[in-house]
Every structure is written in structure tokens, then in C-alpha cells.
């Protein structure tokens, strides 16, 4: 195999190198790639919004299904533009109040589901040393998150055990992830060496 003659592959390869140049230091090549990515991705995002939101969620329901309920978010969305006019800019609080209310409201039951799931998973379905360690770990970690008690004496000791568990978990999760990250880099190198330069087959 020889070096690629495909124009598009060249673009992808040069942009890849431009990003990697950031590892040395900030430089015009990285800046170019960075600004380009931001510009293109926002343009792409707008197109996706047009396609997925305006057409499928507003236009189609309104025109074909005669679903006038979508006028409400439409109005709320328009209220956001009130910030362009000083004397009515307070109106933009209404959509914000709505989305924050929806977000917090939805999170209450889902937090419960998560809570129940976690407790359920901690129940020892079989008796072994592992289940005991899990029970001790979960409880001591929870004690670390006690805020209204000073971490002194017994509580202090248990919360120290909790910190130990947290540290082991962080170390393990860190070590576990390295492989996946190196894989990503291998993927990019394979692209450069095989698709672009044709050095490896």
C-alpha cells in the first residue's frame, strides 16, 4: 500500500495531527482545528435541531396531527427571546422556571428508583465474605457522607474506613479505564499509518 490519494483522507489526517500538536503546546494548527470543530459542530447541531425538533416535533404534529399542545413549548421557547428587550427580559424566567421544575420533579421518582435499586443490590443474596465486605463498604461510605455530624470518635473512625473504600474504588476504576483510552489512541494511529500513509496493512 502507498500513501493515500484521497482528498478527504488527507483532510482527516491533517486535522488529526493538528489536534495532537496540542500535546506539545498551544499553537496555530491546534487553534485552527479547535475553531473549525466548534464552528462546524455548531452548524451541524443547528441542522440536527432543524431536522429532529422543528420538523418532527413542531411542524409535523402541528400541521399533520393538529396537535396544538406543542404551541405551549413554542411559546415558552419564544419567551426566551425576551432577553433581547430590556423592559420585558424578566419574561425569560418563565421558561427557565418550567425546565427547572420539570427537571427537579422528574428527578424525585427516578432518585427513588435508583435508591431502591442500590439497596436491593446490596442485599446479600448469598452468604460469603464478599457480601460482608460489600455491606461494610456501603455503610462506611455512607457514613462518610454524614454532614450533620462531626466526624469524630466512632463516626470518625467509620468514615475513615469509608474513605479507604472510596480510594480503593478510585484506584481500581482509574487503572481499569487506561486500556480503553489507549485503544482510542491505537485507533487513530492505525488510521494514520494505514489509511493515510499506507505503512501498515
Amino acid at each position: 500500500m502507498a500513501i493515500s490519494t484521497n482528498f478527504w483522507i488527507w483532510i482527516a489526517a491533517l486535522l488529526t495531527l493538528a489536534i495532537y500538536s496540542f500535546l506539545y503546546k498551544d499553537n496555530p494548527f491546534y487553534k485552527f482545528a479547535e475553531y473549525l470543530l466548534v464552528g462546524i459542530s455548531i452548524g451541524y447541531g443547528i441542522s440536527i435541531y432543524w431536522h429532529n425538533t422543528i420538523i418532527t416535533k413542531v411542524y409535523n404534529p402541528l400541521v399533520y396531527d393538529k396537535n396544538f399542545l406543542v404551541l405551549i413549548p413554542l411559546l415558552l421557547g419564544l419567551l426566551m427571546f425576551s432577553r433581547f428587550f430590556k423592559n420585558v427580559s424578566y419574561l425569560s424566567r418563565i421558561p427557565i422556571a418550567f425546565v427547572v421544575g420539570a427537571g427537579t420533579g422528574l428527578s424525585v421518582p427516578s432518585s427513588f428508583e435508583f435508591l431502591f435499586k442500590q439497596i436491593y443490590a446490596t442485599m446479600p443474596l448469598k452468604l460469603d465474605i464478599g457480601s460482608l465486605i460489600i455491606v461494610v463498604g456501603v455503610i462506611s461510605t455512607l457514613v462518610y457522607f454524614f454532614f450533620s455530624l462531626e466526624h469524630k470518635g466512632f463516626v470518625g473512625k467509620v468514615s475513615k474506613v469509608g474513605i479507604t473504600f472510596i480510594m480503593v474504588a478510585f484506584g481500581a476504576a482509574f487503572g481499569y479505564t487506561i486500556m480503553a483510552r489507549v485503544s482510542l489512541f491505537i485507533g487513530r494511529i492505525q488510521f494514520l499509518l494505514s489509511d493515510w500513509l499506507g505503512i501498515i496493512k
Partner: protein
């Protein structure tokens, strides 16, 4: 004699081929061993309506047969619910899916019939069956394939439930928790002093803002890639409010690059309000809270670039972060900024802990806004959370003790108890 036999055979062959050409169904009494196979239908409980579930019971010998389910409504319209289900799957639901919108309507009588076959059902046969208004129970033959038609189910009517009974445990705990919160709120109103323990990263906020100001550098506040509907983002916004108040007091600058436009507008409100409260609305500049892009790595690239060029003295990473967490935190470290991070994404916490000066772990981040503004009403909610923690611990310990008696000592009573406990937890 021979001639006659040959003629007879010829006649038979002809007649069979004639039948198969007509695609006609031949009714046979009971030649398919389907005893014990029957189907039932019922309204799906605890749903929002427009759903019927069809169950069937069967002898093991029919394990590998295929079942096709037909539906007839009270007006005589036929339709196919599902074809070629493996009998061992035991159940199918007649509900609307993403591809096919609601077909079952509430309040209408439906009757279901099952077609049992050893091979996958023929498309032509299916079309013939769909045309028939009623099929007699029994075995049929079609193109040399036998199949069995079950008797029709009783009328099934779907309806919507007003209450999801399976969520009663959640409702009960919600009521208990509401009472705990209200109790502590009242306690706070009556003037009882509530305590909150030291949270490491938060005492450093003042220092971080102060040092940046001294060096004449701005502060950067990164809210991550969540939406306003995500609780970590909301928690990040409440911390932003406290931090920007300090920023206004120190008369320095705060940069908030955003990922989501709604987060950006909300962050603008938050900072403006904080600056006004601090008595410096003149310092507020809406252009400092800017939009970058709604692309995970585009955002990371943009924020990295901004960090390299603006060189903030302090970087806050508070909100919802995914893989970009370390890209941001390492760059922040390389420019020598004090970094205070916090997120609820457990997978990203190790990277924050490694790369930042201070990290708020999970709930610490949610409690941070309370810590930074120690009002009694706020503190009361933290105390309530702690009481709930005690409940949970007791529940876990109880579960463990019960399991020792149940599995260790093999006591039936405790086994039942354990089963009940586990079932109640399955939402």
C-alpha cells in the same frame, strides 16, 4: 386391476394438487396433539391504557412450535397481533410500539385466537385467515402443513389505571421522606441551630478567587455537558451563584463557557443575580457567559483553547461530566490554575481526584450550595438527608442479619422475611 389402481392413484394425485392450487383449508378433527393448549387475554395492569396481554399455557411437547395471534374486535375487524412467536415465550403484549401507533383502543371488546403451527406460518395462509370472520377450534391442513386453531378468548377490554399499584412502596417512602423534610424545616423555623461538617474543597473557594484576583487572572467556571433537567447541572448552578458572589466582591471576572444553550441562559441569570446581590450589577457582562457548542469533544476543544489563552487563576468544574473530564482537568492543571471539581458521575471522579486540587464527591457537591450559604432552611434539608441515611443503613443491616438466619441457619421464617424484603425493594 392394475389399470384401475393406477387410475385411482392418478385421480388422488390430481385431486390433491387441485386442492393445493386452490389454497383451500381442509378441516381435520383432532390430528394435532394440542391438548392443554389454550390462550387467555387480560388488560395489562398499572398501565396507561391501550394494552392487552395474551398468555398461553401449553404442554412441554409444544415447546418448539410457533404461535400466531389474531385479533377480532367487536365490529368484526380482524388483525394480526404477532406472528411466529416461539411457544416457550409464554406471553405477548398487544400494545402500540414506536413503529406502530396505538392499535388497541380502550373500552372496545377484543377477541383473540391463536394459530399453532410446527413451521413458520405461510404468508398466503395468514391472508386467508385474516379474511375469515370466525375460525372453528380444531386442526386444519393447508398446503400439506397442519396447524391448530385455538378457541377464541372471552372478550377483553383494555383500560387505563389511575394508580400504579406496583409503586406503593415508593409512595410510602415518599410520604415518610416528605414528613422527615417537613419536620426538619419546622425545626429550622423554630430557630434550632443545625450543624454542617467541614467540606474540604469549599473552604478553598475564597482562597481560589482571592489568589486569582491578586494575579489579575479571571476565574473559569465549567458546568459540564448536562442539561438544566439534570440535577448535577442544577447543583452546579447553585454553586455558581455562591462563587460569582465572591467574584463580584473581589471585583474580578468570571468566564462560564456552556454546552447547552438553556444552561447558558440560566447561568447568565444566576451570575447577574449574584452580582446584583453583591451590590455590583455594573460588573456583570453577559458576554462572559458564552455558548461554545453542543458537541462533547468540540466543547472540550473549545474550553481547552480558552483556558490556554485566558489563563484563569482558578478553574471550577462543577456539574455533569463524562469522558471530557480529564481533558479539561489536565489542561487546567497545566496552566497552573487552582482547580475545584465536583460531579456525581462516579466513573469520572477518579480522574478529578487525580488532576484537581479539591474534589467534591457525589453528595458533597449537592450539599455545597448549602455549605456556602448556611441558612437554617437550607441546613434542615441536609439534616433530613442524614436521617434517611440512618434508615438505609438500618435496612441494609437488617437485611444482612436476616440473611444470616435465613441462609446461614436455614430458618424458613427468615427466608420468607428475606423474600418479602427483597420483593418490596424491586420497583
Amino acid at each position: 386391476m392394475l389399470k384401475r389402481t393406477l387410475l385411482l392413484i392418478l385421480f388422488l394425485i390430481l385431486s390433491i394438487s387441485l386442492f393445493s392450487e386452490n389454497d383451500s383449508l381442509i378441516f381435520l378433527e383432532n390430528q394435532f396433539p394440542c391438548e392443554g393448549f389454550y390462550i387467555t387475554g387480560r388488560d395489562i395492569p398499572n398501565d396507561g391504557g391501550s394494552g392487552i396481554e395474551i398468555n398461553w399455557s401449553f404442554p412441554d411437547s409444544l415447546d418448539n412450535c410457533f404461535l400466531t395471534v389474531l385479533r377480532r374486535d367487536e365490529f368484526g375487524n380482524n388483525s394480526v397481533v404477532a406472528t411466529d412467536l416461539l411457544v416457550s415465550s409464554k406471553q405477548v403484549r398487544d400494545v402500540s410500539s414506536d413503529e406502530e401507533p396505538s392499535r388497541v383502543k380502550d373500552g372496545i371488546k377484543y377477541y383473540y385466537t391463536g394459530i399453532l403451527s410446527k413451521k413458520i406460518i405461510d404468508e398466503n395462509l395468514l391472508n386467508i385467515l385474516k379474511e375469515k370472520s370466525y375460525l372453528k377450534n380444531g386442526t386444519y391442513i393447508f398446503n400439506n402443513d397442519t396447524f391448530y386453531v385455538t378457541s377464541e378468548t372471552d372478550a377483553v377490554i383494555s383500560k387505563a389505571s389511575w394508580f400504579n399499584l406496583s409503586r406503593i412502596p415508593v409512595l410510602i417512602s415518599l410520604i415518610i421522606i416528605a414528613f422527615v423534610f417537613l419536620y426538619y424545616l419546622n425545626l429550622a423555623k423554630s430557630g434550632k441551630e443545625l450543624y454542617i461538617r467541614k467540606i474540604n474543597g469549599l473552604d478553598a473557594v475564597e482562597e481560589a478567587v482571592g489568589r486569582s484576583t491578586e494575579m489579575g487572572k479571571p476565574i473559569m467556571y465549567i458546568l459540564g455537558i448536562g442539561y438544566v433537567t439534570d440535577i448535577p447541572t442544577i447543583a452546579g448552578l447553585t454553586i455558581l451563584s455562591r462563587v460569582s458572589k465572591k467574584v463580584a466582591e473581589y471585583e474580578t471576572k468570571i468566564l462560564v463557557p456552556s454546552y447547552d444553550p438553556v444552561v447558558m441562559t440560566t447561568a447568565q441569570e444566576v451570575v447577574k443575580e449574584a452580582f446584583t446581590e453583591a451590590g455590583r450589577p455594573d460588573l456583570y457582562n453577559k458576554n462572559d457567559i458564552m455558548y461554545i457548542t453542543q458537541d462533547q469533544f468540540g466543547y472540550a476543544a473549545g474550553v481547552d483553547g480558552m483556558m490556554m489563552r485566558e489563563k484563569p487563576g482558578a478553574v471550577f468544574l462543577q456539574g455533569l461530566f463524562f469522558a471530557e473530564s480529564l481533558i479539561l482537568a489536565e489542561t487546567g492543571h497545566s496552566i497552573g490554575a487552582i482547580q475545584i471539581s465536583g460531579t456525581t458521575e462516579t466513573a469520572q471522579l477518579p480522574f478529578f481526584v487525580a488532576a484537581c486540587d479539591y474534589t467534591l464527591i457525589g453528595e458533597e457537591m449537592m450539599a455545597a450550595s448549602v455549605y456556602l450559604q448556611k441558612e437554617p432552611m437550607m441546613l434542615s434539608s441536609i439534616a433530613a438527608e442524614d436521617l434517611l441515611k440512618v434508615f438505609i443503613m438500618l435496612l441494609i443491616i437488617a437485611g444482612f442479619v436476616i440473611s444470616i438466619f435465613a441462609f446461614g441457619f436455614n430458618i424458613g421464617l427468615f427466608k420468607n422475611l428475606f423474600d418479602h424484603l427483597v420483593n418490596a425493594l424491586q420497583v
